[in-house]
Amino acid sequence: MASQEVLREEPSRGSFINDPRVRGIFFQALVLVLLVAGVWWVTHNVIANLTRLHIASGFGFLKGRAGFDISESAIAYSSDSTYFRAILVGFINTVIVAVVGIITATIIGFIVGIGRLSHNWLIRKICTVYVEVFRNIPPLLVIFFWYSGVLAVLPPPRESINLPFGSFLNQRGFYFPRAIWGEGSWLILVALLLGIAMAWFVARKARQRQMATGQPFPVFWTSMALIVGLPLLAYALSGFPLSFEFPKQSTFNLVGGFQVRPEFLSLYLALSCYTAAFIAEIVRAGIRGVSAGQTEAAAALGLRSGSILRLVVVPQAMRIVIPPLTSQYLNLTKNSSLAIAIGYPDLTATAGTVLNQTGQAVEGVVIMMAVYLALSLITSAIMNVVNARMALVER
């Protein structure tokens, strides 16, 4: 950089060919032209070859009737729905497994990462073994481990394992009672939201008071009382409107209740466990990156070890942790396409089926690529905002 700036300040010597600015513009223009030509050439070839092979092209096929069923769908879907809706169902399934997986992986990752730095020998070793095992096995094998190794050996539906609260576990998945909200149950939701808002307010006030006077306030218990207590109160006031539908045995399967299928479970568990191992290492690196002097200074001020971690070390470690954490979130989202191996209807699976039923291979792959790209960019954007908030504010 330095040499370029020096060059730029000099007046051009003789021929403008030697002018670094002209050269810079020339090469940038050249790259742009080559890029546009390349894209045009590929697109032109695709269209020409599709026409030559008598293969229909365009995105009009998305309006056609899908004709196939999908096992898991968060939105209304039947075989009469369009191909577009089928792809949308797959997209939502991908987002669901990615979001739930990211949350779980982050929680496990932080626990294990901090555990690796524990003073307790057993905890430290268990966490090390966890990281080394999951980090060094390909994610597909982890998925198969959960699907074939753990969930498939559960008993068949007729011999389901009975769990508390009317839940069942068998090789078709995990079944639990579905809540049926009666009349007036909106009051419970309002109470819950109110409880959360009040808890947030209390936490803010408590922090301000502690800053000003040094008096601590039991924020956790007050918040729990508000978040749990208010909805319970509303539940009682509205006349206990909640009832449950329990899963029951039928000819083939358990019916009723809510079913979490083994395909989702194994994909979710595998992605969470696998990515958590990487997150643990990132967290460990982040904590290691905080100077030991900080911990010692905090200890010298009389803070307990839990408070040191929570108030001094982790906030500083987060600045190191967040950028690589984003990569892991993106990896988890993209690894969810491995779902195809166990039949979880994610975007790759449903778009792949649509691709096959319609024969629109190029369009199908373009849609998949565009959606994954958009998903990754959105994740990055969100994490960039978080990062900007966490970053050290320089004074």
């Binding site: 590929v42 070839n45 695709v46 020409a48 070859n49 599709l50 030559r52 092979l53 008598h54 293969i55 229909a56 004709g67 196939f68 069923d69 999908i70 096992s71 039947s78 075989s79 074939s148 498939a152 068949p156 090789q171 078709r172 039928s250 000819t251 083939f252 399967n253 019916v255 083994p262 395909e263 195809i340 191996a341 166990i342 039949g343 209807p345 699976a349 792949g352 089926t353 691709l355 096959n356 039923q357 319609t358 024969g359 291979a361 190029v362 792959v365």
Partner: protein, 342 residues
């Protein structure tokens, strides 16, 4: 996915290769010295490697027959195992020269997918299989409401299944996999109650289960599944070679030409047999097609006639023991009928 990726590269990005391939499939095949044949990844009776690693089945034998017609040698063929999802892209992109993979002939595949089906090598229909030991009392597909059904994705089977349950106002729980062995494993492990695919496939798959005797194929056939080989559109010569290989197999059976007697038959007095086997003076039947005049002799020497191929792979000579049924020749009350070779 690998094949799709390769297919896309072939079909889309690198137009050079594709435009070169459009010259003539026959020339390409002759230049490389073998036929690339897309088959199933492993379906007993249709395409599956045996214990010596050699591909066996009616679909692979058909490709061998085409190789015999083109090269005079039925071994000049290489097989590309394809999942249901990969198969059309592989053919469209030129990765395989023939798709002989128990594929159902439909109008959509002939038109929108740019394929040409050459004929029906096996008339099939979709059926259901259940574990009778675990589900006593179920003896009709109409009792299957509420069942979890294992099915392979990207097949006509998947669509027929949806239609059948919908039209009979029954519910089901689809358990869908991309690869056949994944569906088999899931059904065998009890992940689903019902397995649905073409009935011939069910008989083949039953043999690979851990306890085949426990499983029964229900009587209902819910669809027409005419299975046959397909080629790309836009190359009539290659289409004719593959199509007439199929007709030659049928004509050979009709005329009683077998793998064992084909050399004697060459000296037959029957003018029709002489014509089919290229023994007529100055015959141009084979060369007009783009192959040698003794092409039918080569086909029958390599794989036998259609009947022999059927019995060896799926019929009485195989563990499947499927009766000829509607796959018998038209002279014996079946649907197999070929235009004459003349």
């Amino acid at each position: 996915m690998k094949h799709i990726a390769i297919g896309l590269l072939g079909a889309a990005a690198f137009g050079f290769a594709a435009s070169a391939a459009s010259a003539s499939t026959l020339d390409d095949v002759k230049a490389k010295g073998f036929i690339q044949c897309g088959t199933n990844t492993g379906l007993a009776g249709f395409a599956a490697p045996d214990d010596k690693g050699e591909w066996k089945g009616i679909d692979v034998d058909f490709c061998r027959a085409v190789a015999a017609a083109v090269f005079g040698d039925g071994t000049k063929v290489k097989f590309t195992p394809l999942s249901a999802k990969e198969r059309f892209t592989a053919l469209q992109s030129g990765e395989v020269d023939i798709l002989s993979r128990n594929t159902t002939w439909t109008i959509n595949r002939d038109t929108a997918l740019g394929l040409n089906f050459v004929g029906v090598t096996y008339y099939d229909g979709q059926g259901f299989m259940i574990n009778a030991k675990k589900l006593p009392g179920v003896n009709s597909a109409l009792q299957l409401s509420g069942a979890a059904v294992c099915v392979q994705s990207g097949t006509t089977t998947e669509l027929n299944l949806a239609d059948y349950f919908k039209s009979n106002k029954m519910e089901y729980n689809p358990v869908v996999f991309e690869k056949l062995d994944e569906v088999n494993a899931a059904y065998d492990a009890g992940r689903c109650d019902v397995y649905t695919t073409d009935q011939s496939g069910l008989y083949g798959i039953r043999l690979t289960l851990s306890s085949p005797a426990d499983h029964v194929v229900l009587p209902e056939i819910i669809s027409k599944e005419p299975l046959g080989p397909a080629v790309r559109q836009g190359d009539d010569q290659w289409y004719h070679i593959v199509k007439w290989t199929y007709f030659a197999l049928l004509n050979a059976e009709e005329l009683g030409i077998t793998q064992a007697n084909v050399d004697e038959m060459k000296n037959s007095d029957n003018p029709e047999i002489k014509r089919v086997l290229g023994q007529e003076a100055d015959t141009k039947i084979g060369t007009d097609l783009g192959v040698s005049n003794d092409w039918v002799v080569n086909i029958v020497k390599a794989v036998g006639n259609y009947g022999e191929m059927f019995e060896r792979n799926v019929g009485s000579g195989s563990p499947l023991k499927i009766a000829r049924g509607i796959n018998a020749l038209w002279t014996k009350g079946g649907l197999q009928y070929a235009p004459p070779i003349r």
